[in-house]
């Protein structure tokens, strides 16, 4: 028991030291010249490719241990690195280098009566604590996004990818030393002790934001324990609503794309709503297309008539994010009923309307309270890359601070700079 306590005390002070180092690095990063950050990104891209053999060797250690960790085949595939994937990681860093530096951007400015000048300037948040799954490419990506936006980052990756992540971070560190990026701008938490996360979550004097990526359980635990702000990334219960005036062919294609393009992701469609007026014309075609893709349909009573083999839906089905080949289907009597359904059962992630009527599109986009509201487009487009925002560290389901794709700008704050000439308040 005493040893356990001592170990925890040691671990807590190791975490504190990492966090303090990150804070000190962030002070320098905040005003680091864009040229240096971009040189670090592009030279790291080159250096990672040069280090391909060493990275693959480290990765093989992770792969060898993977069965012992009980990883699924899909997880092992995500863990595996080869030359092409390392080139992909390098390409990601070069893309971040090509993005506009958000730091120093003037967001607003005015001259006050009396001549005092006020400027609202974008600054980094400071220190990001990033908790993520066992994908070594995310290590480089997250480091790149954080440093480009002027933040120091503490990386807590899955233990299953530890050797690979360590090899990648060691390359980033070598380049950092060469180009003048602070050593502790990027730190990898090397302990596999799960208690480390709890220690970091207490350090709100040093850490400005925590971003957990992974299952809902992890995110809820982090949100509950954290003493600093958390950017949360829950899954999405996304809807497509087929309005009375929808183009049916277009609706069939968009629903198929929203549901089937990739099923296990947060912006996949999980639920379909159809206006009663278009039901008999639209649903048979939609159901046939979904059936041809092997999708199981859980239907309410009125939808059942048009869905051969449909399974009666329970109340719970409408709240469920299936993340697989299942969809729920309900019939509504009005657009407002669809909106109410979405705001009640949805998760505020991505919801779409299929309609040809301006008034319907306007009302739906006004009233649906989601991060992204699509009109006649697939839910799958809610993504930083698809939006043209560049690299993203996640898709926020919060409304506070960052909503939707979370890229460079979402990792920033601002300060007011006030310039006077001896101005006094009277």
């Amino acid at each position: 028991m005493t040893t356990e306590t001592e170990n925890q005390t040691d671990l807590a002070s190791a975490c504190l030291q990492i966090a303090r180092q990150a804070k000190a690095a962030s002070r320098r990063l905040g005003s680091l010249d864009t040229t240096i950050k971009d040189r670090w990104l592009s030279e790291s891209a080159d250096a990672l490719i040069e280090a391909t053999d060493a990275i693959i060797e480290a990765n093989e250690q992770d792969l060898a241990a993977a069965p012992a960790y009980g990883l699924t085949d899909a997880s092992i595939d995500r863990l595996r690195l080869d030359a092409a994937r390392i080139e992909g990681i390098a390409k990601g860093l070069r893309e971040i280098a090509s993005l506009k530096d958000p730091i120093g951007e003037v967001l607003d400015g005015f001259t006050r009566p009396g001549g005092m000048r006020i400027e609202k300037r974008r600054v980094p948040l400071g220190v990001v604590f990033f908790i993520y799954e066992s994908r070594p490419n995310v290590t480089a990506d997250a480091a790149g996004i954080c440093v480009k936006s002027g933040n120091a980052v503490i990386l807590r990756g899955g233990k299953e990818a530890m050797h690979s992540s360590r090899a990648i971070v060691s390359v980033l560190h070598e380049v950092a030393a060469r180009v003048g990026v602070p050593e502790h701008a990027v730190q990898l938490v090397e302990t596999t002790d799960r208690a480390a996360v709890g220690h970091f979550l207490k350090l709100n004097d040093q850490i400005d934001v925590t971003i957990p990526r992974g299952g809902e359980g992890l995110i809820r635990r982090v949100a509950a324990e954290a003493t600093m702000p958390v950017i949360k990334h829950y899954d999405g219960n996304c809807h497509v609503y087929v309005d009375a005036t929808a183009n049916i062919d277009m609706a069939v294609d968009v629903i198929e794309n929203s549901k089937c393009h990739r099923m296990g992701v947060c912006n996949a469609c999980e639920s379909l709503l159809i206006h009663e007026w278009i039901l008999a014309d639209a649903l048979p075609a939609i159901a046939a297309r979904l059936a041809s893709r092997g999708i199981e349909m859980r239907v309410d009573e009125r939808a059942a008539v048009h869905v051969p083999g449909g399974i009666p839906a329970t109340e719970e089905d409408f709240s469920t994010e299936f993340l697989g080949p299942t969809i729920s289907i309900a019939v509504v009597d009005s657009l407002d009923e669809a909106v109410e359904h979405i705001n009640r059962y949805g998760s505020g992630h991505t919801d779409a309307i299929m309609t040809s009527e301006i008034a319907a599109a306007e009302r739906f986009t006004d009233l649906v309270d989601s991060a992204a509201v699509m009109v006649n487009a697939s839910t799958r487009f809610n993504d930083g890359g698809m939006f043209g925002l560049g690299a993203e560290i996640g898709i926020s389901t919060d409304k506070f601070h960052a909503r939707g794709p979370c890229g460079l700008r979402e990792l920033t704050s601002y300060k007011y700079i006030v310039r006077g000439n001896g101005h006094l308040r009277s």
Copy 2:
């Protein structure tokens, strides 16, 4: 014990009902026409003036109970309403009406390859839970700011002002019913049970943000208990740094204004730093001015030489927000030492440099990590009104979401609207 439990269950469900009503109202408020919100604001201003007698009568009940609550004379004065103060409240609402509606503002927009159009549109946060001190004018102010920014608000004011607040909210409700603002856009929590706050802080499905205003203890308690985001408003340990090239006369005036204009407020100066090179020239003049205003000076060793009657400063003095006629004074050898001192001891609120050198001003404003950084201007200017931002609900000491003066825009989020023509992701 059972009765206590039952009472708490009743209280919890009463709080839940208020929060649900607020959420429902916020759905309508989010797309309510600006004209209706502004009509509500300006007609409420008129109606409050018309209701002067009734409001003063209610206020007299609060004043009669004040001694029993142990209020100080200063608090009783802040609680008191007369015709002039009610006109002030009305004027505040008219000013909010005159501000640009932030809702619907397009923050960004682009057309993607393939023709899909994306718009980032400002939307309300939803429901604000506002906890504040016993100042009845704040009741109307907060209601006005929240509704103008499209949010429903749950007002939890001090019990000492309950009769006054109730009279004011009842006027706001009458006008709301007349002009078409939802009844539950503004709700006053009428129970005096302190446990109610705890119940509301659990309701993160209904409440989008909590804003506590009051002492540090209250804010810390709310931040620890809240399950939703909190905008925090801590006091400020604000600095004025006199650089080697400062204009001494200007420095003396700005320091006096920063320290003495109003001592008990968050943007008052609490600590003075002086560059060693200008020490012998500047400090005697500064000390003489501060002494003439009755300010007690707590000085480090090198400053002591130039401050007759100076008291030796302790380490703790440099972390202290005196909020009264005391200031700490330290000598530094460089601008970087001043920055380091401010980032260590300061509270990230407001810090100023007095200098005539561009390079010094740039370095100071870059490196000081505070919500507002002033150059040759009084710290007292960090204020929404002084910045020209209009009404504010507080000054945030957070970096996340809102920093500095917190007005209409700081109570908003955004959503992405995506318009396609059957666009599919490939």
